[in-house]
């Protein structure tokens, strides 16, 4: 397996959806190719960092206004009988 071929299959390998035979080729390549091993490690860490990132908090004033607006629209759409 060439580095170029490994790059193309990177998504599948990192997501664990790659064919077992290709997975073996992948790991054989990385055992002898430090740059590819490091790139794959970097990618995994990149995804982890973003996945575990903090969500943004809604500004307090906006949140109040949002809920008030939505409640009004909801009541208009679902009038109490």
């Amino acid at each position: 397996m060439k580095c170029e071929e490994l790059l193309k299959m990177l998504n599948e390998y990192v997501d664990g959806t790659v064919d077992p035979a290709i997975c073996e080729e992948f790991e054989k390549h990385m055992a002898g190719c430090n740059p590819c091993r490091v790139v794959v490690d970097n990618i995994r860490k990149t995804i982890t960092l973003y996945k575990n990132g903090q969500p943004y908090e809604l500004p307090v004033a906006f949140r109040s206004k949002l809920h008030a607006t939505l409640r009004e629209k909801w009541k208009a759409k679902h009038p109490v009988k």
Binding site: N11, C33, L66, L70
Partner: protein
Amino acid sequence: MQRAKAGDLDAFDALTTRHERRVYSLAMRMLRQEQDAEDVTQQTFLSVVEHLDRFRGESSFTTWLLRIATHAALKIIRKRKGLDVVSLEEATEPTDHSDTIPHPEFIADWRQSPEQLVETREIQRLLDEALARLDEKHRVVFLLRDVEGLSIKETAEALGLSESNTKMRLLRARLQLREQLTKTLGDPATQLVRSHNHQH
């Protein structure tokens, strides 16, 4: 959700509270501007008010919600660029002619693990800046797939793309983010040079 669909206001309020940070965060990461992110969030939940009772449950509610938010954000980006606001199908540019995969240039082990990095004050700014450098068509795929956890199929459906196009955009996003982050987080002492003819 069933109670909200039946018209229960408190249930709808709880549904909004459960999902609002997710929608707002997606909008902020796409748009990097508070007012625009607020507009997208409000539009998205107003759509929920309008359409929740017709929600057929074919895709999960979350996927549907994120699809609405994504399209609203992409519409704002196109407006910012001074492009015509075209139909939603065209806005996601289904044809991606770029077949090339960006080759990793700066390759080095990171000095700290993700667990250590999340403790640092700088990290959020770094992550946001790296994300902002991506073309929006790559950024949105990364946000939906890797940050929001949608499958490739759900991401493709949300954006009106083929699965193969979605995978290519995801790959480009991941590689570009890796490149950006490694320039700051990589240990120069461990920097490697990749041979272009390397084969095993």
